[in-house]
């Protein structure tokens, strides 16, 4: 009886241990004797992404002669920040981890990461595209190596539904706001609300704080919420009035649903399911279409630059470049070994690993390195996804700007203003009257945030 109890206890312990290991999402088949173990923490993204990264790192570990071993973990996005903060407090932080471009500056300011200038070869940095370079340089130093970039605002549309509604989309790349409204008006006939269908899904308010930054820059001519040096608030302007009007038109005319359960990042699902005819989301949707819906659906979907106030062939900035970069922890015991791993994963002369990643992503992530881009351009990628999508996304990425790095509360205030205006419009108030009633309060709040956080004149991208 006692033995059975012991066996039971052991089995329970085994199951718990296996469960914990599985929950952590790591894998480790053991390093070669005397090898330097480099710990890597990655975000738990889509299945295909985790699978290809696992395969890439497992392949590295198969080589038992390099005296280097990657011990990796995938951690959910929700828990990543807490896990990392706890590990850094306890002295158990990984050697390498993934950082979003938006959060990179806080890591620099907190001295939690190492500058990579002397750890990676200069050729790795020279190979970066300018749009990728500006995301990782502070005070003249490279603090991260870009793994991928993603333009956060692309307009996808269902060709069949637009045709049914009699919308001519041959010039969709040049659409203005007015063209979009006209198309939505026509789409109302084939997308009846009483069947739970709507002409389009735009920028929802939960994600609009970052997702609309490209459009904001387009309207203002470059800056987002604050002047470039962060000394002046530019929200009380015609540009932001146009953004308010845009929101008021979409919601007030029923072109978008008042509320929607699918978040901005996944709006492509509702487009593919035929619940909407047009959806805004990021370049990552390409992978979702190809992985979950396949080539037949892809043929029926188009991708275009989002409409702007005046439209036209050259719209300029319409999106931000988000994405992920690899950094080395400031207290890493093996920074040189960690740099070798970053070379293998993203920055080295041998580009086979990042090429594998971008191929698995159906090229839905834009490539930060010139040499890899050239190789991909020379390939036939038509089996990965429609080539016109890549052309569109590439064009959007080339003119995209980095996301803002001042405290996010400012973006929350601006999008809160837009949401309040929409609520007022839905209650029957005019958008301009709502704007006039609310703008002073928002400006005063933003001013307080600037003062509390000492932002004025301290944009690190200018220093």
């Amino acid at each position: 009886m006692k033995n059975w109890k012991k066996i039971g206890a052991l089995l329970t312990a085994l199951v718990c241990t296996a469960g914990t290991a599985a929950a952590c999402g790591g894998n480790d088949d053991g390093p070669e004797e005397g090898a330097t173990v480099v710990t890597v923490w990655l975000r738990d993204f889509e299945d295909w992404s985790n699978e290809v990264m696992t395969s890439i790192m497992d392949d590295f570990n198969k080589d038992k002669t390099d005296m280097l071993h990657i011990s990796y973990r995938f951690i959910s996005e929700d828990g990543f920040g807490d896990a990392l903060a706890a590990a850094q407090d306890n002295g158990t932080a990984p050697d390498i981890y993934q950082v979003s471009y938006t959060n990179l500056y806080s890591e620099v300011r907190g001295n939690t990461i190492l500058a990579l200038d002397d750890l990676l070869p200069a050729s790795s940095f020279e190979d970066l595209k300018d749009t990728a370079k500006e995301l990782v340089v502070y005070d003249g130093h490279y603090y991260a190596y870009p793994q991928l970039t993603e333009p956060g605002a692309v307009m996808y549309y269902r060709k069949d539904l637009l045709e049914q509604a009699g919308v001519d989309y041959s010039d969709i790349e040049e659409w203005s706001f007015e063209d979009l409204y006209a198309a939505c008006e026509k789409l109302k006939t084939v997308m009846p609300q009483n069947q739970g269908k709507y002409p389009m899904l735009g920028f929802d308010f939960d994600e609009a704080g970052w997702a609309t930054q490209g459009l904001q820059a387009n309207l203002t001519g470059g800056d987002v919420c604050l002047s470039e040096d962060w000394t002046e608030i530019i929200v009380d302007s015609d540009a932001y009035k146009q953004l308010a009007k845009f929101y008021a038109e979409l919601y007030g005319n029923g072109y978008v649903p008042v509320t929607w359960s699918t978040g901005y990042n996944d709006q492509i699902i509702d487009l593919c399911d035929g619940k909407v005819a047009i959806a805004y989301t990021g370049s990552w949707a390409i992978a979702e279409i190809m992985e979950s819906y396949g080539a037949d659906m892809a043929e029926n979907i188009g991708a275009a630059t989002i409409p702007t106030l005046n439209g036209g062939a050259d719209k300029g900035t319409t999106a931000t470049n988000g994405g992920w970069a690899l950094v080395i922890d400031a207290k890493s015991k093996n920074p040189e070994a960690a740099a070798k791993i970053i070379e293998y994963l993203a920055a080295g002369e041998d580009t086979s690993a990042p090429e594998r990643y971008f191929e698995a992503a159906h090229y839905s992530k834009t490539i930060p390195r010139k040499s890899i881009q050239e190789k991909v351009d020379a390939k036939d990628t038509s089996s990965a996804c429609p080539s016109e999508w890549l052309d569109t996304v590439g064009k959007i990425a080339d003119s995209a700007i980095p996301e803002s790095i001042y405290t996010f509360d400012i973006n929350t205030q601006v999008i809160g203003l837009m949401q309040n205006i929409v609520i007022d419009v839905l209650d029957g108030m005019g958008w301009e009257a709502s704007w006039n009633a609310r703008i002073d309060g928002v400006i005063s709040e933003i001013q307080k945030i600037i003062e509390n956080n000492g932002l004025a004149g301290n944009n690190p991208r200018l220093q």
């Binding site: 907190g110 939690t112 008042v258 405290t407």
Partner: protein, 313 residues
């Protein structure tokens, strides 16, 4: 005349001797509170002390020297409009929830008191079930019900020819969507507490009052309410604390929106912890402020509603 306690003590003293009794008693007592004391020290006292100390520093985990900033973190968080607004929301929630829950549970306790048959037992059991459900599960249930596209409530409204309600685009309905599940979760428990209070009031009081010609209002004011003071105190303190520290329901139902109208202090702190440009010490200072304010409000309730035993003393 000696009290029962004095009789018991002298019996033990005769049996074990005065000192021996004291020693044995102390050891058992300390041994019994030791696990709780140890756990509280590890998981409450030490983290609280660390948090208080950290709230006075601009804490950065990799900084060589942590910079002492005095009350700057407290000033910063108190100067943050969203944090102050979250307190206003929480006070509004607390006022509505305490008032409505007290009225509902007190009224329903009377129904339970008069349910003498087997259905009474069944009803008491059924109404307690929501209390066993976590706030997360409750939020999911209510999210299904209030879903804009296909929820039960909006389905009924549409069938009745009315417009559907988008809770995340309407300040009033968003607040209702947070308050109703909170009331639903606590209704059974609070009704049973009130019911326990009601059945503890000696029937003699009511019979004597009836003989004196008192009506139901006089009985309520002169017998029921004064006898229930301790139960009201327990309920108010519990509801006040849970309302001011609400997190999972507003987080899941509305995520604090629309435009921060359902943002609560704990939800604000949870979101603000991720404000990467700010030291985590600011959030910690906010958390300590929440603790102090909730504690202070409860103290006010304790003083305002004097407990029965303290009145007797």
């Amino acid at each position: 005349m000696r009290t029962d306690g004095q009789v018991r003590r002298s019996f033990h003293e005769k049996l074990f001797g005065k000192n021996k009794f004291k020693y044995r008693y102390a050891f058992t007592g300390y041994a019994m509170i030791a696990p709780a004391f140890l756990l509280l020290t590890i998981f409450v006292v030490i983290p609280l002390v660390i948090a208080i100390v950290r709230s006075f520093f601009d804490y950065r985990s990799y900084a060589e020297v942590q910079q002492f900033v005095g009350f700057d973190n407290y000033k910063l968080i108190l100067g943050t409009t969203s944090f102050v607004r979250s307190f206003r929301n929480a006070l509004l929630f607390a006022a509505v929830i305490v008032l409505v829950q007290l009225l509902l549970s007190f009224s329903f306790a009377h129904v339970l008191k008069n349910c003498h048959n087997r259905y009474g037992i069944f009803v008491r059991m059924i109404i307690y079930i929501p209390y066993l459900i976590s706030g997360i599960a409750a939020a999911i249930i209510f999210l299904f019900m209030t879903n804009y596209g296909g929820g039960l409530i909006n389905g009924i409204l549409l069938a009745a020819g009315l417009d559907p309600i988008a809770i995340d685009m309407n300040v009033t309905w968003a607040r209702v969507a947070v308050i109703v599940p909170t009331l639903w979760l606590g209704f059974g428990y609070n009704s049973l507490v009130m019911y326990a209070g009601l059945i503890n009031i000696p029937k003699d009081y009511y019979e004597a009052a009836t003989l004196d010609g008192a009506g139901w209002l006089i009985k309520l004011a002169k017998i029921t309410l004064p006898s229930m003071v301790n139960y009201f105190l327990l309920t108010i303190v519990g509801l006040l604390t849970s309302s001011l520290t609400m997190f999972e329901l507003p987080f899941l139902m509305t995520n604090g929106g629309p435009t921060e109208s359902t943002l609560t202090p704990v939800l604000y702190l949870f979101n603000n912890y991720r404000n990467v440009l700010q030291s985590s010490s600011v959030t910690i200072a906010g958390a300590i402020l929440v603790m102090l304010i909730v504690g202070a409000l409860n103290a006010v309730v304790f003083f305002a509603v004097q407990s029965k035993s303290s009145q007797d003393d």
